[in-house]
Assembly symmetry: C2
Homo-oligomer: 384 residues x 2
């Protein structure tokens, strides 16, 4: 960790319970004064920080009086989660594009490296009340994306979100759910099992601390994280004025690609997507169309010119999985997991991470070392 020191980390953890997601005034305080001073000003007597009414300042101070970051960090740890701060090696720097609306910190549950996954991720979002056609389309395209090594990011909601997560999990692919409440707060309740599976095979991330609940504005602000985290946002189905369209428009503002899948003109659930496609968004029909737009893993992954991350900076468990692959030929995740002394789900998560870094390649159900995997002085590629 090269980012925040312990004091700053504790301050940011506390501030995730005080400052609402997307609050740019709070973001400005963090930028101008840093997290420690900001928290100090909120928890000790004195004049308010600039940009808020006295009433709002009083409200923030009332929240600040009840924070207990040690407890939140312990709860997160107990739930198998960690807390990331800007500047951490695992921090997804794409979020910095949000400026003062950048998250104060991120609560993350799951073994994969968030930064690495986010580098080659695509958002797939859409209507809660989707049609069979929409669910089928979402599942088909996300399965294709996952098989091509892309990470599918969505919001864990009913409808298209669920179809996107499930389509990815079905092919043992990599998926991230960005939640509008705490990472230990399964919402919607009907997705308790799905979110549990995502936590085991992928990542759950949240701006809110453990135990916090989603609200209407938190759902909206959550969408900006989905848009910022990914290289592009694909809307599968959306009625006019759908929240998924807001995610796409945020993606556009951030310079990300926006995409949509068409549907019948007779379907109200496609009308919003068609509206989007009449603007800047690109019509896509399958994962190849998406990848053509957001780029290929090859263009993201390190090549001979030099690795994106050198091999000795890999986290130990990721490194164990890499070392579990045979020098020649392919291996099943089950065997790789046994050699790396971990579970198959964990091995697959690390294999996708290694895939995004160009270390390994996938062939159907098996994996192998990439032919041009990044050279490293300490572990030279075997010479023939």
């Amino acid at each position: 960790m090269t980012g925040a020191n312990d004091t700053e980390r504790h301050a940011r953890a506390a501030l995730t319970r005080i400052i609402e997601p997307g609050d740019t005034t709070g973001g400005r305080w963090l930028r101008e004064h840093g997290p420690t001073t900001t928290l100090h000003r909120l928890t000790t007597p004195g004049p308010p920080l600039p940009g808020v009414t006295p009433k709002r300042w009083a409200g923030l101070r009332a929240r600040a009086a009840h924070t207990n970051p040690d407890h939140d960090l312990a709860t997160a740890h107990h739930a198998g989660a960690r807390f990331l701060c800007p500047g951490d090696q695992e921090w997804p720097t794409q979020l910095d594009d949000l400026g003062d609306a950048r998250p104060t910190g991120l609560w993350v549950r799951g073994t994969p490296d968030l930064r690495t996954w986010a580098l080659h991720s695509v958002a797939v979002v859409g209507a809660r009340a989707c049609t069979e056609y929409g669910a089928h389309t979402a599942a088909r395209i996300t399965a294709q994306l996952a098989e091509e090594g892309w990470v599918v990011v969505s919001g864990g909601a009913y409808g298209i979100d669920a179809a996107a997560h499930r389509g990815t999990l079905a092919v043992h692919g990599a998926t991230i759910a960005v939640l509008a409440g705490g990472i230990d707060h399964a919402y919607p309740r009907g997705h308790t099992h799905l979110l549990q599976r995502i936590a085991e095979q992928g990542l759950l991330i949240a701006e809110l601390p453990p135990g916090d609940h989603p609200t209407a504005s938190r759902f909206i602000q959550r969408n900006r994280v989905i848009a910022a985290l990914t290289r592009g946002t694909l809307v599968i189905e959306a009625a006019h004025r759908s929240g998924a369209l807001a995610t796409a428009r945020t993606a556009q503002r951030l310079g990300r690609h926006t995409m949509g899948t068409p549907g019948p003109l007779t379907s109200a659930q496609s009308a919003g997507v068609h509206e989007l496609l009449r603007g800047e968004a690109t019509l896509v029909t399958d994962a190849d169309d998406v990848i053509e737009l957001v780029g290929t893993i090859g263009t993201l992954a390190p090549r001979r010119e030099g690795p994106l991350l050198p091999r000795d900076t890999l986290p130990p468990t990721t490194s164990d999985v890499l070392n579990a692959l045979p020098a020649h030929g392919t291996a099943h995740p089950h065997d790789i997991a046994r050699h790396a002394r971990t579970t198959p789900d964990d091995a697959i998560a690390h294999l996708y991470e290694l895939h995004s870094l160009g270390f390994v390649e996938r062939n159907g159900d098996t994996w192998q070392l990439a032919r041009h995997h990044p050279p490293h002085p300490a572990t030279p590629a075997p010479q023939p």
Copy 2:
């Protein structure tokens, strides 16, 4: 008629039977030598015109030996058709954008003025083997376009073409069928009745002289006329490699708008349209979207600034229909027809023509003089 003189007109009529549609070598001869000389060279001994092999020249001369333009013009006249040449007042000058691939002349059947209609026309084309969804979409959008005063141009084929023509005729709208054979040759045979209705209420046009048959290459060349004649081409349904896509691509090359209606990703008949929409074409969902792109009648029709065509240049029957409208209030086509001493179908055709010129307005089933119809010194608007 300010265009071709009688000799040139006869020569062009003959040449429509000799030079194949879209033949740019023949087009160059017409441009460089004129129709009379070109025909003379083809029908008298002497060296070939440049740009053809001796074998091809011999083939053209063999055809030329069997032309009888007087007979063709008489046949056309008998079928209620006329022959238009470039430069004629009724010639649709948009076709000049085709350069040397411009039609040698056009055989036209139906009472409306082709030039006027073409000014505010949209092509609606698509798959022969269309789905119910495609036929429904074509009928809905063309009915809306017709009610907004737009002329729907298509190819008279089965599938989308037929749905487009029928959708227009169903609301007593204006439609043009561009045929790949002669205007007296009903193709496909199953559309004999439909083409008859179009000839009565709209226009049939053809590059080929009476009695000539469509061929594969003539279908392809016919598409360029549809693309050039109109302000934009809308593809409703098309599989990959469909002829309708070729029409759209020609429209693009000519600087016309190209549009497509989306459909389910699961439909092969929408796959070609989606391909088009991934390029330059614009996704449209209804007639308003089409009109937003190709412009409003208002921008095409004459305003107070001055008429597009002065009132005294109107053909006599059109003028009769205009004079049959009451000075105040609205009238039904049936009553207008009685006053103009013509049939209701004929009256409706002229009313659409007058609509495009800004002389009249439509209100549901009734028509009235436009409030700002073009002033003319010879026939001043009645003063209150």
